[in-house]
Amino acid sequence: MKRRDVLLASLGLLVIWQAAAMLVNRPILPAPLVVLGVFFRELGGELPVHFTASLWRVIAGMVLSVLTAVPAGLAIGGSKRLNRIFSPVIYLLYPIPKVVFVPVVLLFLGIGDLAKIVVIFLILFFQIIVLVRDQAAGLPPQLLQSLRSLGAGRRALFRFIYLPASLPAILTALRQSVGTAVAVLYIAELFATRKGLGYYIYYNGSTLLDYPAMYAGVLAMSLLGLGLYFTVDWMEKRLCPWKFVV
């Protein structure tokens, strides 16, 4: 994907937005220029506070899920016995839409940041553990045998095979679920908080009826998701160069 094409696509979307705004011609859909104006004005106001609050929650959730799901996935994928015990459990829990736990988590963990971080963690944890487990379990036996024949024991196998092999799986899981994580963050931020983009969007849209400000919040949340997505892409190019050679 070329940078120029991405830029052209963004321009195209802006044109469609502008056309839609002119067609609808109501306060509920302001034109892009109006929203951009408010967005840049709000950057000097409250928006950065809400943005950082949301960013912190997503990043904390991501880090927490990587730190727990990767070792768990490697352990389960690397051992037939653990796989037999835990895979049915994961199989049952994986398809449950974790967003339904938002009220429960809030009830247990209270109204602070922790509850929101845990919700994001729950979503990412299952995505990562499944991909990392499959990656570890699917490693060709020849790869393991040849390293064992070079003298490698359990620790060296982990260091030289399992860990590097799980990197692409981690990044794929993050890329696939970063959008969902931001969406669920929005839901989580509707409850019991006065910080975060979810709150900002909802408050401006439903209480103040300040639609341009609401869209500025939507824009900020989209940029948050997009930024995370780009970061994961960039990390993959840096950490997994072999996937991009021809």
């Binding site: 020849q142 790869l143 040849s146 070079l150 003298g151 990197l167």
Partner: protein
Amino acid sequence: MIQLHALSFGYPQSGLLFDGFNWHVQRGETWAILGSSGCGKTTFLYLLAGLQHPSSGQILINGQALTRPRPRTGLILQDYGLLPWATVRQNAQLGLKVRNFYGADGVHTPQDYSPERDVTPWLERLGIASYADKYPSQISGGQRQRAAIARTLALQPDLLLMDEPFASLDAVIREDLQSLTLELCDEQGITLVIVTHNIEEAAAMGRKILLLGTPPNKQARVFENPTAGQPRHRERGQYQVLCQVLRKELSIERA
């Protein structure tokens, strides 16, 4: 170098592959293990590598009972076992990295080992120095197999085990690598055991050939082939005759 005493081994599904099997290898010999699929030749190699353990009997290497992979045995498999995420150079360094990781503990690494990382001479010797920074997906099968050989030889093994190492290569590249392997083994004083289902390969590489038949294998059937590896070996009458004999033996086994 290698002694098998009354070795027995089998898998629960397939029954006994080896039953009271005896076999001896002298230091510096080059052996080809020939047999059709299902005769247990890959298992045989895994037993020699210490990756499988006999259900009864004993494997002695240099007089010591084999209980786990030994650091001076190199194993090279058909599909190379190269790490896809590492360059040719990093792959060639892998064995050394594993040794550096453990240090000279005598279990994973020979006791007299001193940390080493430079594989450039090996890459040069195997003619892949110019591909050092490529990933396995970017090079040909022959070059990948050369990288796998470099990785193993960098560990300075005294015993080299190969499982169908050249099976997926073109005839010309295969013959090149066969000669190179023999040359390197002679040069480094390495004992070679190569497993193959290919009669010509066995006759071209093995100065001694062990024929495995329909399991269970009870007695070692050995064919002498002393001129293997010499120039124009393949053009000699002896080679042709040996191939015919082996082909006949194999077809009797199959019938």
